[in-house]
């Protein structure tokens, strides 16, 4: 089957379905009619898309943590704590890394080991192994919407079980859950596998069940310039909408410079709306998510709180629909439930303190123009490369380095583009690789990097990039050289 961006027929979906459900025994329990009936009886306050749309209307920012452990009871306990003590608005169920690689046998071993040692040996909740009943116990134990968050290149079976299990939102996409999360997985295959997920979501939608979909915004979380993640988010939104998805949350990982970040969230909303409208999906409802700093964190908890609060500030001032929260344990490992709740409460305080404020400046407008222009350059080139088809175009764009994600593990990513911060901490291109930017935009980036080099009295070099990677965990935003101002 040739990869094209057009809606699958129901037959095409059902054809693949048996194979998918057979991948692991728990898959055989999924019955679509039963699943749809279950979803339909969920009370309104457990439905993700509704809560997002309300928040968008009233201009508030919802707060959501990440969390998942190996065993069901412990997972319910964890989420209940985050709901009650953490004051979360939205809950996650973060999936473990074996499940993400479809290694269900390994996940099963992780479950046994966790029971044996009395501590979670998995870095998330193995939803496929626990099956529909396990998932429903979670949904029924909580009072607010729950989303599956993962990083699974082939997430078809997980989607089937999650939807039948009552989850009302599902993160991921064919690009964003491949390039940062895999090494050898073909991009064409993942885009196709996510067409399955999106078609399945569309099928529920047609049956009257709202399920929210969220492309993974931050990619590698490490110095990703806004135009790159915007291009990926908009492509995935287009692909999802084509399959009938009607509730989409596009995401962005905080870069650290206030104006760049606020500009990024605001252009992300505007550009996604625009491209969806242009391609016939004006009826889809689009919301945004800001991810608090996704790169390396400082080890000291007081400093980690500072980073968490800074991310919250950006979410609040940009009026993102939701914010994904880090914890003061970030640099060490999966947080305890207490540490996780602390991250949420710190975020909540910032969000509600600042929710009434906005920034609106000329510099912000400039930054928005730059991001929008860059994103358009990339997207238009993708359409061109695909001969008008964005699915094809995306695959070819990665081959050509027209989209290029820094520090990505995937061999389907060119890895030629190098980002570095400018003097104000905004992320610019140190080496633009094959990005299809206009000469003016390239000049702009070159100037910005040179300004910084001058300030630091050194030549632009890869060392600058490395210094930027470490900067936040060492307490700065711009990775200045050791002899800077001394």
């Amino acid at each position: 089957m040739d990869l094209v961006n057009s809606q699958w027929t129901v037959d095409e979906l059902l054809q693949q379905r048996q194979d998918v459900l057979n991948q692991w025994p728990t898959g055989r329990d999924v019955r679509l009619e039963d699943a749809i009936a279950y979803q339909k009886q969920l009370p309104e306050h457990k439905i993700f898309a509704r809560k997002l749309n309300q928040a968008k209307e009233s201009g508030t920012t919802l707060v959501q943590p990440r969390a998942g452990v190996a065993l069901i009871d412990e997972h319910i306990q964890l989420l209940t704590y985050l709901q009650n003590e953490g004051e979360a608005d939205l809950l996650p169920t973060t999936i473990d890394s074996y499940t993400r690689q479809n290694r269900y046998q390994k996940a099963e071993e992780g479950i046994s080991e966790s029971i044996r040692t009395g501590k979670s040996m998995l870095n998330g909740f193995p939803a496929v192994n626990h099956g529909i009943e396990g998932c429903r116990r979670i949904i029924e134990s909580l009072d607010i919407p729950v989303q599956i968050r993962h990083g699974t290149p082939d997430a078809r079976l997980l989607a089937e079980i999650s939807y039948a299990g009552g989850f009302t939102s599902y993160e991921g996409g064919g690009i964003s859950y491949n390039i940062p999360y895999a090494k050898n997985v073909d991009l064409e295959k993942t885009i196709r596998d996510w067409q399955y997920v999106d078609r399945l979501t569309g099928y529920y939608e047609e049956a009257g069940v709202m399920i929210n979909r969220e492309p993974f915004g931050p990619l590698t979380g490490t110095l990703v310039p806004p135009c790159i993640s915007h291009a990926v988010a908009i492509i995935e939104a287009l692909l999802a909408a084509e399959q009938g998805v009607r509730n989409i949350t596009v995401g962005y990982g905080q870069c650290g410079n206030l104006l760049q970040d606020v500009a990024a969230i605001q252009t992300l909303q505007a550009l996604t709306d625009e491209y969806l409208r242009r391609y016939g999906h004006g009826d889809a409802s689009i919301t945004t998510v800001l991810h608090q700093w996704m790169g390396g964190f400082p080890q000291d908890e007081a400093k980690a709180f500072a980073v968490i609060a800074w991310g919250s500030t950006v979410a609040a001032l940009a009026h993102a629909t939701k914010v994904i929260v880090k914890s003061p344990h970030e640099a060490f490992g999966v947080p305890t439930m207490e540490a996780n709740a602390q991250g949420i409460r710190c975020t909540r305080q910032v969000i509600s303190m600042l929710g009434d404020q906005s920034v609106n400046t000329h510099a912000l407008k400039d930054e928005k123009l730059v991001i929008a222009a860059e994103t358009r350059c990339i997207l238009d080139k993708c359409f061109e490369l695909g001969g008008g088809d964005i699915a094809k175009g995306a695959v070819r764009a990665f081959q050509a380095g027209v989209i290029d994600v820094p520090f990505a593990p995937s061999r389907f990513n060119a890895g030629k583009m190098l980002p570095a911060r400018d003097n104000d901490g905004a992320i610019r291109f140190f080496n633009p690789g094959a990005l299809p930017l206009t000469p003016e935009l390239l000049d702009f980036h070159r100037e910005k990097i040179n300004e910084r080099a001058k300030e630091e009295k050194r030549q632009p070099s890869f060392q600058m990039v490395i210094d930027d990677v470490y900067a936040i965990s060492k307490g700065r935003l711009v990775g200045r050289p050791a002899n800077y101002r001394s």
Binding site: S97, Y98, R100, Q101, R103, K106, E109, G110, E113, K119, S120, M121, L122, N123, G151, P180, Y181, A182, K183, N184, T220, T222, G295, G296, Q299, H329, A331, F332, G333, V334, P335, T336, A339, F407, A408, P409, F462, I466, V469, S473
Partner: protein
Amino acid sequence: MQPKKIVLGVIGADVHAVGNKILDYAFTSAGFEVINLGVMVSQEEFIAASIEAAADVIVVSSLYGHGELDCRGLRQKCDESGLSGIPMIVGGNLVVGKQQFNEVEKRFLDMGFDRVFPPGTSPETAIEAIREILKMPEADSFT
């Protein structure tokens, strides 16, 4: 003198690529020859690469929390493959959650690693440790 050879990789289903790319750059700048297997490396790949390159040391990273499950048996497999005694060091965010490091260290030493490093260890420390293990003379500090 031939440069010493390091086989480097991130073990298991782990895709954290940033630290790996930086270690590669730092080890190379410090004069080592680096065979970088990247992320998602199986025990078998570590062993095959070490034999092929006649490596002096194996540097294992694990960031995502499954390090304990992924590293078990690596020493035994080395011994069986004719790599017995090859120095092996490991670092990253080895276990799930914020745990007492000395207990974590003990568990990994028991698995047969020569040195075990806590979260956030700098490349400088890694290089120093490797020099020590390989009994290399003190060098100018890495910059």
